[in-house]
């Protein structure tokens, strides 16, 4: 299934939801939005996880200068131009303004204000100490209260716990995708679809995973295996194709759209404990230590995570592994840390390609050349 048919099917799915009276809450795709809370209150959480192009970026310049994150620009472009395959964005009832980065705040605020979509706030602290975890709970409570105001009824702990369990189970299964012997582009399609549809995709997901385990699709021996870290590869983005055309195969998606999402699993002991459901969501936030939003230990944790994966992979597979740090142009978090990340990993003998790009067609050739040169070096 290509991206166009995925979006077309999803459009029908969303219309059906809407006709059932389900309201839709959209947000930028970051990894700290408590979708369980939205689900428990009967809303459909719509993660904006769509790549951009020249037209979408250009369309955002009425609102923001071009020196804004290309993904953020494209999100505005989607609402501003509403291309046919994205008409489902007209179905959005609420938009969450959050602060994963300051572009998240600006873009969400612009979408809400200029495209007349009711706004909900959900802000995330930068550090992860005792106070900030307590603050995170305040934000959860605030969002819960706002959702209850909208639905006109109190959201029970049972209902929330049910959603937490549902998403937890979904992520456990999705996590298995990491281990599948499958070419990266195929993995990414599964991840995209799963994260777009949410737990309703679970039965299909289980089948796909089982099929892939039973009949592993052949992968050429000539491919060089790589991890992708940094910014996500979103739906409708050709980055994965460029890497595969250059001879690379992504074996691990260490990004929002990937491991950052489905590794956020709450352990069974905590789930069965007497903890309040909101505390479980706080725990999930606390454990999301590899997310790029946090300071001050993101760099150390990220280096050690990649190093561990690298060591484990090379030991078990006996193959070299590259690291592509994907930087969407003007991304604050990934760009600022990129030179430090590369230096530290290279000191440990891990070769890193800092690959910066926006969504313009013009740089495709240059990106291909850089990817090919990097993979060539891995020989």
């Amino acid at each position: 299934m290509d991206d166009l048919s995925l979006l077309s099917d999803f459009s029908l799915f969303l219309k059906e939801k809407k006709s059932e009276g389900v309201k839709i809450i959209a947000y930028l795709a970051h990894d700290n939005i408590p979708e369980e809370l939205l689900d428990a209150a009967g809303f459909f959480p719509l993660r904006l996880m769509f790549g951009g192009n020249d037209d979408l970026m250009d369309a955002s310049h009425d609102f923001l200068p071009p020196s804004t994150c290309a993904f953020a620009q494209s999100c505005i472009g989607l609402f501003s131009t509403k291309p046919n395959i994205f008409r489902f964005l007209e179905l959005v009832d609420y938009f969450i303004v959050s602060n994963h980065c300051v572009s998240d705040v600006c873009v969400s605020e612009i979408i809400s204000k200029y495209f007349n979509i009711s706004r909900l706030n959900f802000y995330v602290p930068y550090t992860k100490n005792e106070s900030s975890l307590k603050y995170f709970k305040l934000e959860l409570l605030d969002l819960k209260n706002k959702l209850e105001d909208i639905i006109g009824t109190e959201l029970s702990d049972e209902k929330l716990l049910e959603s937490i369990n549902k998403y937890n189970q979904f992520k456990k299964i999705l996590l298995e995708v990491n281990e599948l012997e499958m070419i990266g582009s195929e993995k990414l399609k599964i991840i995209h679809k799963a994260m777009l549809y949410g737990p309703e995709f679970l039965p299909d997901l289980e089948n796909i995973i089982q099929n892939a385990k039973d009949n592993p699709p052949p992968i050429s021996d000539t491919f060089k295996d790589v991890i992708i870290t940094g910014c996500s590869i979103f739906i409708n983005d050709n980055m994965v194709d460029l890497i595969e055309e250059g001879g690379g195969n992504i074996v691990f998606f260490d990004t929002w759209i990937g491991n950052h999402y489905y590794s956020q699993i709450i352990d069974d002991n905590s789930l069965t404990s007497e903890k309040e459901p909101l505390d479980l969501l706080v725990l999930k936030f606390k454990n999301n230590v590899y997310g790029d939003h946090s300071v001050p230990n993101f760099l150390e944790l990220k280096v050690s995570q990649i190093e561990n994966y690298y060591q484990d992979y090379t030991k078990t597979k006996g193959k070299k592994l590259g690291v592509i740090n994907h930087i969407i142009k003007f991304c604050d978090h990934i760009s600022l840390m990129s030179s430090f990340l590369k230096d530290r990993l290279q000191k440990k003998g891990i070769q890193v390609l800092n690959l910066e790009r926006d969504y313009s067609r013009a740089n495709r050739g240059q990106l291909s050349t850089r990817i090919e040169a990097y993979l060539e070096m891995m020989k």
Binding site: D62, F63, L64, P65, S67, T68, C69, V97, N99, H100, C101, V102, S103, V105, C106, E109, I110, K113, N121, Y123, V124, P125, Y126, T127, N129, E130, S131, S132, K134, Y135, L138, E139, L141, D142, H293, V295, P296, N297, F298, L299, K329, F330, D332, H333, S335, L336, M337, S338, S339, F340, D343, R344, E356
Partner: protein, 451 residues
């Protein structure tokens, strides 16, 4: 520049502030090596805890050696023997005698102060890029990275206060990768004042105080905090008086370009009080007095026919020539960034108050109603100040690579048009001195609207 210099000589307090800014390196070396004091790097006006903990806050650029005009060096040396007022009066006297050579020297001194600071900022910018920060970031961040790469290893700690700008917060995290030595002291400000957020922020402030105690081995008492807040409050009072009573009035104690120059100097130095709060307080209080005295005597300039142009933001980088150009085009440039961001609010110091909590309230107030957790609030801050200053127009510096403040311009322009009905224009900025001709053209067209 001679007109500007001509005026500044009358303000000995300005010479003192400029000298203390440029001669910071020697002062800091003395503090660190002879007096064994701890140096703490600060950025933005968040130096209060460092002062209260008896450490020496420093905006890192001040650890550099500046090419101080040799005559300013002599003045500095002379002032330590005769006192600044005597030196300033002497210069004024000699100047009035019409001794050309001395006049030239004084002109050069003032011109040098401004040029030297700007050159050093640009040097830091280049060092930042050479050392790996992407050129896509704003001028302020690139310069800050340059400052830490070049001099950050000299400090004992960095005081890191999170704000709404994600690039800034990540830059703060990167400091320990740039220099492993300094202790990193963090204050995370919750983005919104909901629930018991003040209590949580108070805990964060208290933890930072504990970190300072670990750094110095000395206890920080409530009274030390209050005593510093009292000094800080006096600084803020004078700064606000200069902004509201003087900069928005129709008679200036000097020509408007000089006035803007002084405001720019205050904006830079307010971040670390030139590493000495008492000295800075004395200087700014005396600056206010000197200004009022001149106005009382009718010395200065009637500026009632000059439109008030609010120029902002400048704290992350701006073109310092802008106020001169605006002056030449018949206007006057007003600077008030710290007031806009609510960083000139006084902190209560009553004996029964909890100073950590009061400081938390100060930070939260700045976050909520000054800097703002979103652009709606931030743009309201611009409107508030433009109204309070009776601004006739607004020039907005849109920094290349700034994703926080610069991104609010579309919303700001709409609000200014609908609520204030004054002209506004945006000027893109990347590096000091890079596009002055373009800026002149733009400002020329903008100032035409007032004729």
């Amino acid at each position: 520049m001679s007109l500007i210099a001509d005026e500044i000589i009358q303000f000995s307090s300005v010479l003192r502030i400029a000298y203390n800014l440029l001669a910071g390196r020697n002062y800091l070396k003395r503090k660190k090596f002879r007096e064994k004091e701890k140096l703490v790097a600060v950025t933005l006006p968040f130096s209060d805890l460092a002062f209260a903990a008896d450490t020496i806050p420093v905006f890192p650029i001040r650890m550099h050696q500046f090419e101080i005009n040799q005559y300013l060096t002599y003045l500095g040396s002379a002032s330590s023997i005769f006192g600044w007022n005597t030196v300033s009066n002497f210069l004024g006297f000699v100047r009035n005698l019409g001794i050309e050579e001395v006049s030239k020297i004084v002109d050069e001194i003032i011109e040098d102060v401004i040029d030297v600071i700007n050159k050093k900022y640009n040097e830091m910018y280049d060092i930042g890029i050479e050392n790996g920060i992407s050129s896509d970031f704003c001028y302020g961040l690139k310069s800050l990275v340059g400052m830490h790469v070049s001099k950050g290893s000299n400090v004992d700690a960095c005081l890191n206060v999170t704000i709404r700008c994600s690039a800034y917060n990540k830059y703060l995290e990167s400091l320990k990768a740039i220099n492993q030595g300094p202790k990193q002291i963090w204050i995370d400000i919750p983005p919104r004042n909901i629930g018991n957020a003040i209590e949580l922020l108070t805990d964060n402030v208290s933890n930072a105080i504990k970190d300072f105690e670990d750094l110095t081995g000395k206890t920080v008492t409530d009274n030390q905090l209050r005593d510093h807040f009292k000094i800080g409050n006096q600084v803020k009072r004078s700064y606000k008086n200069i902004i509201y009573d003087i900069s928005s009035s129709d008679f200036y104690p000097c020509n408007p370009a000089t006035f803007s120059e002084i405001m720019a100097l205050l904006s830079i130095t307010y971040q670390d009080y030139n590493s000495n709060a008492t000295r800075y307080r004395d200087n700014i209080v005396s600056l206010e007095k000197e200004m009022r005295e001149r106005i009382r005597k009718g010395i200065g300039m009637d500026v009632s026919d000059r439109p008030r142009i609010f120029v902002t933001p400048m704290f992350g980088g701006w073109e310092p020539k802008s106020h001169e150009i605006i002056y030449e085009l018949g206007g006057r440039a007003l600077y008030a960034d710290w007031e806009l961001l609510k960083l000139l609010e006084e902190i209560p110091t009553s004996p029964d108050s909890n100073p950590a909590e009061e400081y938390a309230r100060f930070l939260m107030n700045a976050t909520e109603t000054g800097i703002g957790c979103d652009n709606d609030k931030l743009t309201d801050s611009y409107l508030r100040i433009a109204k309070d200053l009776n601004a006739d127009g607004m020039v907005f510096f849109q920094l290349f690579g700034c994703h926080s403040v610069s991104n609010c311009y579309t919303m700001l322009r709409e609000k200014v048009r609908s609520e204030l009905e004054i002209p506004t224009t945006a000027i893109t900025f990347n590096k000091i001195g890079e596009s002055i001709d373009q800026m002149k053209t733009r400002l020329g067209a903008f100032m035409e609207m007032f004729k």
